[in-house]
Amino acid sequence: MKTRSLTLRRNTDRLVSLISATAALFGIAMLAWILGTVILKGIDAINWEFFTELPAPPGMAGGGLANAIVGTLGITAMAVLLGVPVGLAAGVWLAEFGQQSKRAEAIRFACNLLMGTPSIIIGIFVYILLVLTTGSFSGFAGAVALAIIMLPVVARTTEDMLILVPGALREAALALGVPRWKTTLDIVFRAASTGLLTGILLAIARVGGETAPLLFTALNSPYWPESPNAPTANLTVTIFNYAMSPYDDWQTLAWGASLLITVSILGTTIFTRGILWYRSKS
């Protein structure tokens, strides 16, 4: 073995430490740069009108994104209603019934594939499935696309959370003659409720900022959302359209929408992480 002087080894060690600390600092600096930009540029657009008014035509001062805010909330709510129950069901089956069976492995594998599928592909799928067949872009199609993205996330976190519930709890309930479905819904779910909630919140945070699956499904609209069967205004596609437009007013609005989206999503994420952290501590 080659012998190296201790000084050389120590200095190499110091150099590597320095590089790795710098890299970590670089990561944080980039986060700060991005968040700083969004806050500084977005804050100008945030005012009362931003939350209450429809967008103004280009060139005219004022206007807000009230319709897009309502639209995004509506689409996300519909997606939760569609995606969460199915995801919960799948998670329950994997944890309580499927366990290590071949069929369960196949479903888990499908969940992972779906999670790894680029969201724009989901957009194309829903476009062919719902937009081409009905002949119209719609908020409902957008919600379906988001629901498909949420589904595997909810399924896998549900499974993980249910597995953490001690088996003795199930056995105790079953021994008292409580039927299986009631054991799961009343006892296992109650024991895992915080975990299930955080899983759902994280899934919402994940789809809340999605743009690609909405581009060809919900599209966008300058009007108030009136029906789930028509193109629906939403924040993320609005950001895309306005950022690419040559009008300064619109670009400012796009920054305002970016700030709103970022704050909501990071807020949800940090809140959820906080719950998980607090729970693991106690």
Binding site: T12, K41, A89, L114, I121, R180, E210, L219
Partner: protein
Amino acid sequence: MLRRTHLSLDPAFRWLTLTGGLFVLALIIAIFLTLVEGSLPALKEFGFSFLFSQNWNPVTEQYGALSSIYGTLASTFIAMLIAVPLSLVIALFLVELAPPQVSRIVGGAIELLAAIPSIIYGMWGLFVFAPFMADHFQPLLAGMTPGLPFFTGPPMGIGLLSAGIILALMILPFITSVTRDVFAMVPAVVKESAYGMGSTTWEVMRKVTLPYGIQGVVGACFLGLGRAIGETMAVTFVIGNRHEISASLFSAANSIASTLANEFTEADSDLYLAALVELGLVLFGVSVLLQIAAQWWLRRTAKRMGASR
């Protein structure tokens, strides 16, 4: 009587939840079949030449995916080139160097990078990062490497290089967090014996931690790769959207995902739409293959690490 009604609900409950699981399975198959069916006209018209032609012209109805495929691969490659070493050293910092308090805060901050939506990276990339690249980084790079074809041409800010760097930032948290977990799994006893022999932190890292965790790190890279390859909005904002392959990384290009995002709603003929859906099929195929490779690799690793304990 009551007990009997309860008993009869259990199979129903079981089947209901199973339906949820099977639905996921059915979705994956449905997505594949839908994409195949949607791209049939283009498949028939162009066959394999679709993958190898650079000619993308909606006016003459000629469609070739090569420039999009090249852009996807090149931007992903740049992203991996930056993100993998960076993630490794950050994970080293988090596990071996930083005090636990610092490690938790820094680790949390890095993970927040993953929570920022893609479109925000796009906004920042287009309006802040691209001008920065054009004014400072690209001229510097071009000046440092005279004669290299990769860094030539006007520094516009947007283009393959900028897209690759932003992608690197986006996948950094994924690779870092898996790598960190893998490094943390190395048994303390093994590390302590190396320290006890007088090794420095770097030597323990290079000769103990890294060999022990290398397979997990490779798995983490697969995951990052899968993320980067289908990333849409951030890339669409900064890549420049041009259907041509150029040696320079400064030049505008496109990727499969950015082509889809830009042109899908504009597709006015059946063949145009089919060509775009076929692009989607290519992307879906690649991401499925990557996922399968990643799963297989991680499973193998888990088995080996389990056996070695």
